[in-house]
């Protein structure tokens, strides 16, 4: 899918600072020289193309609850099976295979430490694997928005 200029602008300019007004999409439209209808249509299209995960809030992990990065060393042939177990927990919000002996990396975010610990224990019980628990000790840098380079000649979206 080819992204319209409006969609590119929405992506690069509105990853933060979404207006807290009655008609926020109308305000975006005003600032982008578009209309509310067009903005909403553009966003819906991005969502359908699975480019827009959501238009919402990103909460501070430290302040909003308990969270940790965690990893498992999974025998290669069991990776899909173990990943599926980990995925079933709603407290798991990212889960990636990575190239390392520790090959399954996920983030667990819970309302509090107690729940976080219970999720980790349950994952150990269900997989029979020891979880490497790596909570954040200090954040030196967190990028608030990620600029997409739309000018390069490479195909943008790999959406069928």
């Amino acid at each position: 899918m080819t992204l319209s200029l409006l969609q590119q602008q929405l992506i690069n300019e509105w990853q933060k600072g979404f207006p807290l007004t009655s008609s926020p999409y109308a305000q975006l439209a005003k600032e982008l020289g578009s209309s509310e209808t067009e903005v909403l249509a553009a966003l819906k299209e991005l969502e359908q193309a699975d480019i827009l995960s959501r238009l919402g809030a990103v909460f501070d992990h430290k302040k909003a609850g308990a969270s940790t990065l965690a990893a498992l060393m999974v025998p290669e042939e069991d990776l899909e099976y173990v990943a599926a177990i980990v995925n079933k927990f709603e407290q798991v919000n990212h889960n990636y295979a990575r190239e390392h002996d520790y090959n399954l990396w996920f983030v667990v975010t819970a309302a509090d430490d107690f729940t976080l610990q219970r999720v980790l224990t349950r994952i150990e019980q269900l997989t029979g694997l020891e979880v490497l628990v790596l909570p954040m000790e200090k954040a030196f840098h967190i990028d608030l928005s990620f600029q997409i380079d739309f000018d390069s000649k490479q195909p943008l979206a790999r959406v069928s």
């Binding site: 979404f18 009655s22 809030a57 349950r122 269900l126 694997l129 840098h141």
Partner: protein
């Protein structure tokens, strides 16, 4: 490291085995008039995404049985407390051609970590830079950086360049490229029935 073989039970996991009931979290006291339950609900809506319709806050307010002003006031309050880091589009990098994502992990002497982390954080290609504990003997690395790029070669080139320019060649590091995303979604602190049903 314990590596117990996996028991591949043919039975599917029961929902009960997977459900963790949360202890009600105390949400920071504040000057807004939403009840703790309404606050939890609102947080869940914000994590799930605003409705793509002309009056999103009004719509959420209606579902929470309150008014739009209170919803906006609460969100603003959370922003002031820095509980909300950002409000806006959350995009999937992969779908936009940013297919390579490397976690670069470093084994840095404790006394050097602030200095080196500061240098790494100043690089535009580093999107996250966190200190995490070592877990010896299994895990020796204490600094984690995330680097996204359009492809593997581009990311490796960036890593080599920053290692050279910051003179970090002597430090043990490892580069963990991701090769499959099993799950990628916004964090959900507030467990909500509706979220359960959607899972």
């Amino acid at each position: 490291m314990m590596q117990t073989p996996l028991s591949k039970s043919p039975e599917p996991l029961s929902p009960a085995a997977l459900s963790i009931s949360p202890v009600p979290a105390e949400i920071a006291p504040d000057g807004t008039s939403l009840t703790p339950e309404q606050q939890r609900e609102l947080r869940a809506y914000l994590e799930q995404g605003l409705p793509l319709s002309p009056r999103p806050y009004q719509e959420i307010a209606a579902r929470l049985n309150t008014c739009e002003t209170e919803v906006i006031k609460q969100i603003r309050h959370w922003q002031q407390q820095n509980l909300i880091r950002r409000l806006g589009l959350v995009v999937k990098h992969r779908q936009l051609g940013y297919c390579a994502n490397a976690m670069v992990v470093w084994d840095i002497k404790d006394q050097d970590i602030n200095h080196i982390a500061g240098q790494l954080s100043a690089r535009p290609e580093v999107s996250l830079c966190y200190q995490r504990p070592r877990r010896l003997p299994h895990w020796r690395y204490n600094l984690f950086c995330m680097i996204h790029g359009k492809d593997r070669e581009a990311v490796l080139k960036q890593i080599n360049l920053l290692t050279r320019e910051l003179k970090l060649d002597h430090i043990n590091k490892d580069v963990l490229f991701s090769y499959k995303a099993f799950k990628q979604q916004g964090a959900r602190y507030s467990q909500r029935k509706q979220v359960d049903e959607r899972a």
